[in-house]
Point group: C2
Chain length 101, copies 2
């Protein structure tokens, strides 16, 4: 699996907006054929900190996600709600042994 | 979901040992009734850095994991292979909407 962890820090007054917009992105993303996980996590200590856990069968499938209407809509919707630019970290998924990049 | 991210930095000479031991822990953990994910990730830049992504339906299910024979066996096996103590971060899983803690 090709895994991206995205750390997002949201302005406190836009936490609810962010959750609504990200739920829509989640629901569409898990329907992509190459998607294996699109988990939306919230920090229990700091409720304006989120982590998106996105796993795809390949780097190509992850790239296709970034060209989807639902991703581009989400990206534009949340752009003004973040405290700072979001940060992405890539990992190679070893297990479960799904398709590798 | 009750999610734990575990960051592990392994001594370079024990990377293969770590992958073998963690694969066994993965295979047993995904069979636990409360488990939803037990993904084992490796950094593509630093091959001795790993991330375990562990999601359970509840805090109780995560606690039951830490009392399992396979977890305790893994914990003892890898203890001497780490460069530094592993670091855990907890998250609340919002989506997918599985059971909450």
């Amino acid at each position: 699996m090709h895994v991206t962890l995205v750390e997002v820090r949201v302005k406190p007054e836009h936490v609810s907006d962010f959750i609504v917009a990200t739920r829509i992105n989640h629901l569409e993303s898990v329907r992509e054929p190459g998607n294996r996980r699109f988990d939306v996590l919230q920090s229990p200590q700091e409720e304006n900190r989120f982590l998106l856990y996105e796993a795809y069968v390949s780097a190509e499938a992850a790239q296709a996600h970034r060209q989807s209407v639902h991703y581009l809509t989400w990206r534009d919707s949340v752009a003004g709600w973040m405290v700072e630019p979001r940060r992405s970290v890539l990992y190679r998924g070893l297990f479960p042994e799904l398709a590798q990049p």
